[in-house]
Symmetry: C2
Subunit: 373 residues, 2 copies
């Protein structure tokens, strides 16, 4: 049942008996979503190469857009005029929009950060874009996503302690400004925990954001240069410090094994470009590990990528898919994006079932065994 | 009812009362196809950017592949091993394969033609490919298309009379060699009429090919540099010289108005890259003429490309489609390819209905009026 006092609400259905993995339902103005949930990335209002009907057919129920990119192209006012991002991209389900904070990291060479906000030289035409916390909220409200994110200050890792503390403190101040700038009551706002690879900083950041009572909490600033072990340590400690009754979102991560690990620590939401980007580059995810479709060994292979996979790509042979990549046919990237998203969504679905049946740890062990077989 | 003595058979259903336009059914080993029929081009075993399920959803019932390109990549023996081109590309309907003759024109700089055949320097790796009439039939039989084409000698226009006569005579000798090289009895073979812009040559070529009793006849060597008026004249005279009881195929043409004109002269089959290529470049066909989606005037336009069009693209606004092109999202080319193929197939369907109702001329007049409105 939805909480009438909040734009979204989160209800825990079950927590695994042997781990912190949990199943829940996220109620949003555009429908309910079972968690753990994986959100494909539709930066510019499209999951690359896939119409929304194809996106839905992969099992996807919630997608991600990006405030920075959509403000530049086509401009959030055009999206608002055309009925908001849902109508614009013809996606009926929930949408989460990132605030543009990640672009402070990914476009750092073109960015100048002050206490007021970030100034970007547009990567398209060199024009100046000011992104303050207030402006980020304004953009996201014009887009009309179900979940908006606070503007955070993402820095690369490793970095100096001073830089990391400074970015964390600014992230907290900016989160408060985002909260104060909200005008819409039908859009949730999640805050983002920063603090680099310092557990104490992460816990301090979490505690101060929790006091501000956001609708959910995200862990940001990971997968930006650190080792898997470092990410694991930060993730484990940070997740356990977040309130159990709010959704927890790990931003920009990752491989299937990363998702299972994070679910085991109690993460509910994910986004990552990996299934689509790697798909476009000819890599397919399967239960037996990854396949590189350009490899000569697939030249005459009549098998589908994955037996039993219901996706469009798996109606074809590996030999055909390889041919598409070797011939430069755009259908290759399209079909592998479809397959990889279907793979991720089937993994999430299987994980949810395993949690409900209190066998999540055994499920992970089996999957890891298969992947490395 | 299919003719049991031939791999395909053609039955005329109706001829328009006021023109030579006609409706028929082409019976093939992979199902029946109503004519006039438009075949999208799947040169390399894929209609660019579209899975076969999407191709079928446009109303397409028959597609085209290319012997030259598939022999180079992935190689026709690999296609044969994987069950033939139908299985390879997962297309259950009829397929026509071009012989490679058009590549003598389009890749002329890398080609050397002798009486024996054509030698190509591969446009991929520079290796030498010999394409004789016998080899073209061998490739097409390995691919297992429903309709194979004879190897013809296509030259650019304008050209010297000697060159055109020489190419026409060679086309006839090569057609005979193709016929003699056939081994499969489940594949039709169409001959191709050449002769440049000389009506007498075209009629002579037609007469000599008709004597050899092919399963169908194509008009080749048009849309290679001549004016629309020149094409119209050649087309009109040539079509009327072809036997009424065999399918007539106009190769590589063209715009919607070209198709209607040719149907009016009695052409039954078409292929052209225009709907997909122009779609990839941001041009959409509509009943009110073409739209260039990159144009600024579509920036805020909430309308679909075409009211009442059932295609996936028309679930979106022109503003969204423009945004996809401006942002370089591959979904733009995909959606416009879908729309344009749907447009062509709906045009063919409407033309068939108009012919059956003896109002094809009025139908053409109305469409021309709409296009230029």
């Amino acid at each position: 049942m939805a909480d009438l006092n909040r734009p979204i609400s989160f209800h825990l259905s079950h927590t695994d008996a042997e781990s912190a993995a949990r199943c829940g339902v996220l109620h949003t103005p555009h429908g309910d979503v079972e968690t753990p949930v994986f959100m494909p990335v539709g930066t510019l209002g499209a999951v690359k190469g896939l119409d929304t009907a194809a996106v839905r057919a992969t099992g996807t129920r919630m997608v991600l857009g990006n405030a920075y990119h959509l403000a530049l192209r086509p401009g959030e006012e055009i999206v608002r005029e055309l009925g908001g991002l849902h109508a614009f991209m013809n996606w009926q389900g929930p949408i989460l929009t990132d605030s543009g904070g990640f672009q402070l990291y990914s476009l750092a060479k073109m960015t100048n950060v002050t206490e007021q906000g970030a100034s970007f030289r547009s990567h398209i035409d060199g024009s100046l874009l000011e992104l303050t916390p207030e402006r980020s909220v304004e953009i996201q409200e014009a887009l009309g996503s179900d979940v908006a994110m606070t503007l955070d200050h993402v820095v690369s890792l490793p970095n100096s302690p001073e830089t990391i503390v400074d970015a964390m403190e600014r992230t907290i101040r900016w989160a408060a400004r985002c909260r104060d700038a909200r005008r819409r009551d039908d859009q949730a706002l999640f805050a983002i925990v920063q603090g680099g690879l310092d557990v104490e900083l992460r816990l301090a950041c979490s505690a101060r954001l929790i006091e501000m009572d956001f609708d959910g909490f995200a862990i940001g600033g990971l997968s930006v240069g650190e080792t898997p072990e470092e990410m694991e340590r930060i993730l484990r400690h940070t997740v356990s410090a977040l309130p159990a009754d709010k959704p927890r979102y790990l931003m920009g991560v990752g491989r299937p094994q990363d998702l299972l690990q994070a679910i085991g620590y109690g993460v509910d939401m994910f986004d990552c470009v990996m299934p689509t980007r790697n798909g476009r580059n000819g890599m397919a995810f399967t239960d037996r590990g990854t396949l590189k479709l350009r490899n000569q060994r697939h030249q005459r292979d009549p098998r589908p990528l994955e037996e039993g996979c219901p996706c469009l790509a798996c109606r074809h042979s590996r030999a055909y898919l390889r041919h598409l990549f070797m011939a430069g046919e755009m259908l290759g990237p399209i079909l592998l994006s479809i397959h990889n998203l279907t793979y991720y969504q089937r993994l999430m679905s299987a994980a949810r079932t395993a949690i409900l049946e209190d066998r999540f740890t055994a499920f992970c062990t089996q999957r890891h065994g298969d992947w490395s077989a």
